[in-house]
Amino acid sequence: MNVDSPKRDLAGPLLDRLTGFWRPLRNLGAARSRVNGSRSLLTAAEFQEELAVLGLSGRRFEPEHYSDALGEYLNISITVHVIPDSWYPELSRLLAISGRLGELRYSEQLNLAAILVPGSLPPLVLTLTILHELGHLAAGDLLIEPDEQFEEQDQHAEQTMFETLPLKKGKKLARGYPFAKESLREREANLRASYALFAGCLGDDSPYAHGMYDVL
């Protein structure tokens, strides 16, 4: 996923110097938020709450409906481009070599998100790849400033608490803040994709959806 941040006009040595002063202060604030901000990975029940916010809980839906509802909620335009191999044969090869299945581009300035996926992907992988990228948008992963110190890989149990980062600005669907570690953000996007696929297939047969109508 790539983010196009708005470019600042006031570039120059003075700004660079001010940025130099500002960075330690900002990191101090971020460190404090990391001390307080932690949460576990998203559960299927928590995802059902997100679906309720989008008006999709208890309904059967396709990834298109999820994308439309998410775009409307976040007030951004989300477009999915499934690119046939005949149009751009190199895309599949380049993505496959890089070990990726799709690409998410986001522009804060234009309020626009574009998901690019090769048309040659098997249907289930195509669906899950699109849902995975939509999961990044729902989590607000594109609205944080990535911090390299958190980039090491890890595999923990679902209940473990992980550190989060605050948003720069913008709106997200998730209740919690995005994880500081990229590997965790990817893992959670995978979880969102699988939850979305099953919730869309099962509709009101989902035990989590039924829990929202059977509170007592």
Partner: protein, 450 residues
């Protein structure tokens, strides 16, 4: 026995019957957090009213304390219901209409704090200015109305909000009938509580203002109304709790599918796609082109062609593993096939799990575990690569399988002697060989032409 004792006896008896019903019928069959809480609350109410009926606690601050204590069970019920609707209990989802409205969630979530604070404040008012709270028909000072109002006003508001949420939840489109009636029953119960609280406030007002002659008859009517509402409320809650629904798919099974089957299949298919797209499976390109052409020559359906293509890809990846596809082994393929079979064993689940065959495309039928080419391809590829002639399946393989077998042998992905052991030399095999040879000629001509 005073009127207050008489009223307490009636309410205590009703509560006791409800408690026994809970204990004997509801708790053993469905033990939810609310049913346990309601049972404890009913026992508390029974003991409370029983004590008031047996001991004449008229006069002074003792009356105030008993009056506040008798209000407490209902206040706790309202607080619990509001908290449950707001998703504030551990491992509890909010009601669907609440999840969509943060303001409603905030209001309902504040119920325990506001209600208990108001009870506390009312207790202070009552203790500072004592009033005959338990003497039902006696005239009371204005402070008594303040005391009642402090407890009842938030109770009316929160019960009203809870009733509204239950109605909204019950009216959701496409909802199962059982949920509709369940939420309706709880809504009726909460409306009854709101009406009792409202009636109680009016009752307190009547004790403060009207003359002695008019008061008695009206208060007796209100007392009867309150008893009726209380019975309605308990019956409505019992009806709501009795309506049970078991989801078609259990949470544990769903979790297993999400972390087991889906993860495995996605990993399997994506690794295979990466191997094919990056050209890692070198021998594949020619073999797959020939297989598709041979299927076309034989006039096979699109689904059979896709099965054949998926099978030759699998065989190629399993026989020619690269660093990316080293996880696609016969063992991994067998594990995935078994997981798929597990889903297919459950007809309800298998019919529900599907995914679109294309983005925003209604022209193509959605794929299911059964209809997706990978399911048959896994079985076919395992037979070709890993079976060594031990197949227990005596049925004649379909033509697409023969085409894949011939192609895989020609591309040296599998051993020709192994193939001879597996496939009888019949009409299907001869047709497959002829179609494959013809396909190769066509492809060669096309290459020469380019």
């Amino acid at each position: 026995m005073s009127a207050a004792q008489h009223q307490a006896l009636v309410l205590g008896s009703v509560s006791f019957v409800a408690f026994i019903f809970f204990l004997c019928f509801l708790l053993p069959s469905k033990r939810t957090k609310f049913s346990v809480f309601a049972a404890c609350n009913l026992l508390f109410v029974t003991l409370m009213f029983g004590a008031v009926a047996l001991v004449d606690l008229s006069g002074g601050r003792a009356e105030i304390m008993v009056a506040v204590m008798t209000e407490l069970p209902v206040v706790l019920i309202v607080a619990w219901v509001c908290l449950a609707l707001a998703g504030g209990l551990p491992a509890q989802l909010p009601a669907e209409p609440v999840a969509r409205r943060p303001w409603l969630r905030a209001i309902l979530g504040s119920a325990p704090l506001v209600l208990l604070l108001s009870v506390g404040l009312a207790t202070v008012v009552g203790l500072v200015w004592p009033s005959p709270a338990l003497r039902v028909y006696a005239p009371a000072p204005p402070q008594f109305f303040v005391l009642k109002g402090l407890i009842m006003t938030p109770e009316v508001i929160y019960s009203g909000f809870a009733a509204m949420v239950f109605v909204m939840a019950g009216r959701a489109t496409g909802l199962k009938r059982r949920f509709y009636f369940k939420n309706l029953a709880f809504s009726v119960g909460m409306v009854c509580i709101a009406l009792i609280a409202l009636e109680s406030t009016v009752f307190a007002g009547l004790r403060v203002w009207p003359s002695r002659e008019a008061r008695r008859a009206i208060l007796e009517t209100l007392n009867t109304l309150e008893a009726c509402l209380a019975i309605c409320c308990i019956l409505a809650f019992i009806a709501g709790l009795s309506l049970r629904y078991t989801p078609a798919v259990a949470t544990t099974l769903l979790h297993r599918l999400q972390t087991g089957w889906l993860r495995t299949q996605e990993q399997f298919e994506s690794l295979e796609w990466q191997a094919v797209s990056s050209g890692a499976a070198g021998r594949l390109t020619h073999a797959s082109d020939a297989v598709v052409e041979a299927c076309r020559i034989e006039g096979l359906s699109e689904s059979d062609t896709q099965r054949a293509l998926a099978t030759i890809r699998l065989v190629a990846v399993m026989r020619d593993p690269s660093s990316e596809t080293q996880q696609i082994t016969p063992d991994a393929a067998r594990k995935l096939y078994e997981l798929q079979e597990e889903i297919l064993y459950d007809d309800v689940l298998a019919s529900k799990i599907s995914w679109a065959a294309g983005w925003r495309s209604r022209a193509l039928e959605p794929q299911t575990v059964k209809s997706a080419p990978l399911h048959d391809a896994l079985k076919a590829a395992l037979e070709l690569v890993d079976n060594h002639g031990e197949s227990e399946d005596v049925r004649t393989p379909p033509l697409w399988y023969y085409i894949v077998a011939v192609s895989a042998t020609d591309a040296k992905m599998i051993d020709s002697t192994h193939l001879s052991m597996q496939l009888r030399d019949g009409t299907e095999r001869r047709a497959a060989v002829e179609a494959y040879d013809a396909a190769k000629r066509v492809l060669r001509m096309l290459e020469d032409h380019d």
